[in-house]
Amino acid sequence: MSATHAHDHDHGHGHSTAHDHHGPPAGITRWLYTTNHKDIGTMYLWFSFFMFLTGGTMALLIRAELFKPGLQFLDPEFFNSLTTVHGLVMVFGAIMPAFVGFANWLIPMQVGAADMAFPRMNNWSFWLLIPAALLLMSSFFMPGGAAASGWTLYPPLIIQQGIAVDMTILAIHILGASSIMGSINIITTILNMRAPGMTLMRMPMFVWTWLITAYLLIAVMPVLAGAVTMLLTDRHFGTSFFNAAGGGDPTMFLHIFWFFGHPEVYIMILPAFGIVSHIIPAFARKPLFGYASMVYATASIAILSFIVWGHHMFTVGMPAAGNLFFMYATILIAVPTGVKVFNWISTMWRGSMTFETPMLFAVGFICLFTIGGFSGLVLALAPVDITLHNTYYVVAHFHYVLVSGALFSIMGGIYFWLPKWTGHMYNEKLGKVHFWLSMVGFNVAFFPQHFLGLAGMPRRIPDYALQFAEWNAISSIGAFIFGFSQLLFLYNIIECIRSGRTSTQKPWEGADSLEWTHLPTPVPYHTFETAPVIR
């Protein structure tokens, strides 16, 4: 990558301490009116952390209920609401905003821009999240409770529920608008505001993965918006888009939803690939192996993600040719994904590796995400999926992809860039304890769910047959270990911000993108007032 070739002399005049008087205003107005990409990035990250703890609390309620057979303390309808809102909160409230937080913090710094292209819209994108989250969470207090159809919102069930569904639909519309505005900002920044010499094929991998992710978002978020708008008109305005009694087709919703839903999976994992592609070279002290192939693999995954949605609905009765098409197309995604895993491992090969917390999370990511990828291949096989559909095998699969994939990369990324963002080092020992507790807790929680699924335990049920008791108890214990270990993470971040020891300019000697080579630590309030020149 290019950053290693950049002029170091920019370090001095790009942002001197003379600019400090342009610092942030004091008090709440700083956060309400800010157009600064770092402030907005910080708010995104804290918002997503709060939503992560909220969604995690729901997950622990679910696992507590499932600790042993029989109904323990949750009403079954409330249980269904919990699984639904847990999914929505984690997808739209935790993982996506976390990556947008990273994008806000890092993209201007990594391309050598002063800020995002549309700073006011950036502020609006963030503040839209708050009413959306309030709508979603307050729907629990509506008559009949929160939406209970699963995060996929399938009709006809979703048509029959109360006002909470309308609140959920409105929340999804607002979240979608926020995502689209964020994506427009990201694409425009990357395409128009790169420093002289920062050609596309010199951009850091995180920037590349976000450029492709932002295009995916603009392509599919309106599709989800269209689907939920039609749900709304079916519920209140007498249309029958998805109502068989009126000539509509509930299966059509599945097609539209998953045309959004599968690219959405890649929206949640491509930026993770970007983060890991920074951490591994830094701690292997080698440049990323196969940079160009990484870029092409990312683009290939994004393109393929549009033609595989049918693998979520092998059991709806598509023609065999349709099932075969979606099966083969899905298997094909393993090729570019394999290229990525190969490149990360090749980057580590014969590197001078050390295993600080970010690297532990990155290596943990590779191991566990690959397990999630392989169980995805198992589910991609149409005949196998017909047996495993709607079982805990699917739950295990997507948690391996989204927790040990997306979430581990977010945690690794936070440890990696915290010194740059705050000017302080986190507690390394505590970071490692957090990693190992997360690693053990996660695997204890989710690996047994493969066995449960293979044995036939259906998902989204508050009670189950006796033969599933042991693995469920073990899974719940793991979930509690994983859940409570995140409090260590929170403590470590707060301790780092408040009283961590001062970080050096570049605490990771192998890190080579512009924010490490061209900007002091911590980063000044205004990033590049003069664009750096990249050779």
């Binding site: 292209a117 549309f118 689209i180 994506s183 427009i184 900002n185 694409i187 425009t188 920044t189 395409l191 128009n192 505001m193 603009i218 392509a219 978020m221 309106p222 599709v223 918006a225 269209g226 689907a227 708008t229 039609m230 888009f241 059509m252 539209i256």
Partner: protein
Amino acid sequence: MEKQRRNAIITGVVLALMAIAIYGVVVLKYMVR
């Protein structure tokens, strides 16, 4: 700088129109069926 600003606005508008068009196509496709 002015040119960069103009290009940024054009890019942003084109992307926004793209998103609105996709939303319109999804809803209209099934409305006129």
